[in-house]
Subunit: 213 residues, 4 copies
């Protein structure tokens, strides 16, 4: 049962998370103070702590939100689609957007974990969700394998590879200048790599699409 109280509470928590995500993205998790978030959400500093036990928990919450949304989108827009190739394109675009919007938060989480300063429980929750995300991806790839579109390897590994390639491109964008990065071109490259690699094999292959940009 969800009372009005709980609904309102959830709504406000969402408002705070939204403000936090916006601010984190405009600079970085570590550069934003709890007070900044409070102001951004039009609350007092203390109020934030009624919804989140710590600044770290805000970070984890925002990341979870992102993963959840991505999983939902994959389920709704990719799985069960008749056209597997098109579903795959959608999947890549969704993952790309996800990493664009949450990748940096991830890195913050990661660093804190490497420090040992991150509450392990928080990280575990995230890890579980990420696993689920990869599994959803693997589900789609499995269908692709059956349809003869993908190489017949373990689909979970394939999913990880796909994710890693995307992450690598996101990282390059961050190194350059985040906002202007051209998603479409990135995705083009990603598709190229994933579909054919970049090496020729005994002259069999002609790669007509990969023209100079």
């Amino acid at each position: 049962m969800t009372t009005r109280r709980e609904l309102e509470r959830e709504f406000r928590k969402e408002l705070i998370a939204r403000a936090a995500h916006r601010l984190f993205s405009s600079s970085s998790y570590e550069a934003i103070t709890v007070e900044d978030i409070a102001r951004g959400a039009e609350f007092g500093k203390g109020t934030i702590y009624q919804y989140f036990a710590s600044k770290e928990e805000i970070l984890a919450y925002v990341v979870c939100r992102g993963i959840n949304r991505l999983c939902r989108d994959i389920e709704e827009q990719c799985l069960g689609q008749p056209d597997i190739r098109s579903a795959l394109n959608t999947l890549m675009a969704l993952q790309y957007r996800f990493h664009r919007e949450h990748g940096h938060l991830f890195l913050s989480l990661l660093r804190r974990k490497l420090d040992g300063s991150l509450d392990p429980e928080l990280f575990n929750v995230i890890r579980q969700k990420l696993k689920k995300k990869t599994e959803l991806t693997a589900t789609l790839l499995e269908q692709g394998i059956r349809a003869g579109i993908f190489v017949p390897v373990d689909s979970y590994k394939l999913a990880r590879i796909l994710e890693n390639v995307i992450k690598g491109f996101i990282l390059e964008d961050m190194e350059k200048r985040f906002p202007e990065a051209d998603a479409e071109q990135d995705l083009e490259f990603i598709r190229l790599v994933l579909s054919e690699g970049i090496m020729l094999h005994g002259g069999r292959k002609t790669n007509g699409e990969a023209k100079e940009q």
Copy 2:
């Protein structure tokens, strides 16, 4: 002209950088204090500032050192080699190791840049060096293209793609558990992606190597 003075100075700077890199890798740049570095290098805290203007500069220096070494290694071990395929393998292993050892430092640098808290000059120096690194990689790929091994696309772009794929795998390692990551297996996957992608093309391709692990 380099006097004995200057040589000694350079040597001590190197000692400090070495200690710093070791400490950074054991946890993270932000978790290590200048005092930790000083003790690690067996100097007093104040002494560090005789060699580096700021903690940030130590970070940048360590990263530069890594890039320089990588560039030297590429030049010595890859360029000018008769066997291009083998040179490429070496290149990938070198880049992989570089990102393994310096990737996290990069992320720290990156975040500070996104904050706006990083001295832009420092970042520019790094950016230049990175560009040079990519150019060296491109040089090798160019040879590969001429030899018909690589797809005949702009070699610089090809180099970026190669780097991105490697970075993506490094990131996955960090998310899991840094120390145990299996470099050899990662490289196997990377080679697989780069050489063939993971999608089949109208039955033309048989992918015999990509067995279950």
Copy 3:
């Protein structure tokens, strides 16, 4: 006249005070938040402020309650008793229990007074009640003096001395480990001191009771 309203109000105030005292005793006044008290009394946080103007006032109220009860007990169980020696024993036991249960609250009150952060009015109320408590004690001692049991000194001073000795032992208990302190043994020592002191006088005195524990 006391309406039902007022009675109910008084009753709820009592409930809150009871919960507060229980919580304070389990750790300390300063470690317990108003919210803890509210939950302990099964009320909302805001409700507490309908019965008490401040957290401090709860403290004062609890202490007053304790003193009132002690005074009532002294009047009922000690004064007017035919056997003065037995009445005295009862008195000491009552005072001992009072300080056991309220001593720490006292110290909190005390500290705030020393800070200057305690509302002086609250402290005055307490001081008055304490004075009354000492006067009741003095009344009993007065009877004892007339009966030749106590040294014929100012009875009020005698009462203070008696109280101080008890307080000193309570303090020792707190320093050790509060819960296990042996009240009976403490009272034995207290009686010993009060009745004979611990010094011999020209061999007049033989202290048969004071055996090794």
Copy 4:
């Protein structure tokens, strides 16, 4: 070996402790901020943390200092004195002064321990020192017992009784108004209690000294 460095360091630590004690005594441990202490010792706030790991540690240090000094004083001024009665008077005066000056700090320490918020290690150190203090007191009382001045009971227990009585009087002073408390009169009462108690025994005793004040 104590280098000049260490000596200077010790000296500055002492300065800080002195300032802290002064401030604590003028109001209370909890009302004084670390910044107050820093200003009081004419240092910057951060400097304090070069000498003490936490505010709590300052408190413990100040208390230890007090106990150490008391022990030294007892050893120098009481033990080995030919006149035991006079040595006892000195002892009582020393203990009285100690509790006057450090009693409130004790209570702060005590409360934190009851909370569970005090580092147990710190408390243990203090407990050890206190035990040593009581043992020194017991040593003197032992001599008194042998000389037939004290009741022949376990000297350690006797020492605790003596301390408790003093503490009880100190507490009364604190409840009243700290600065004006009349030490001489307090000690008079304490001596009275300890030497004879306040009860008569079958008419044997005439208490000529205990006149109206």
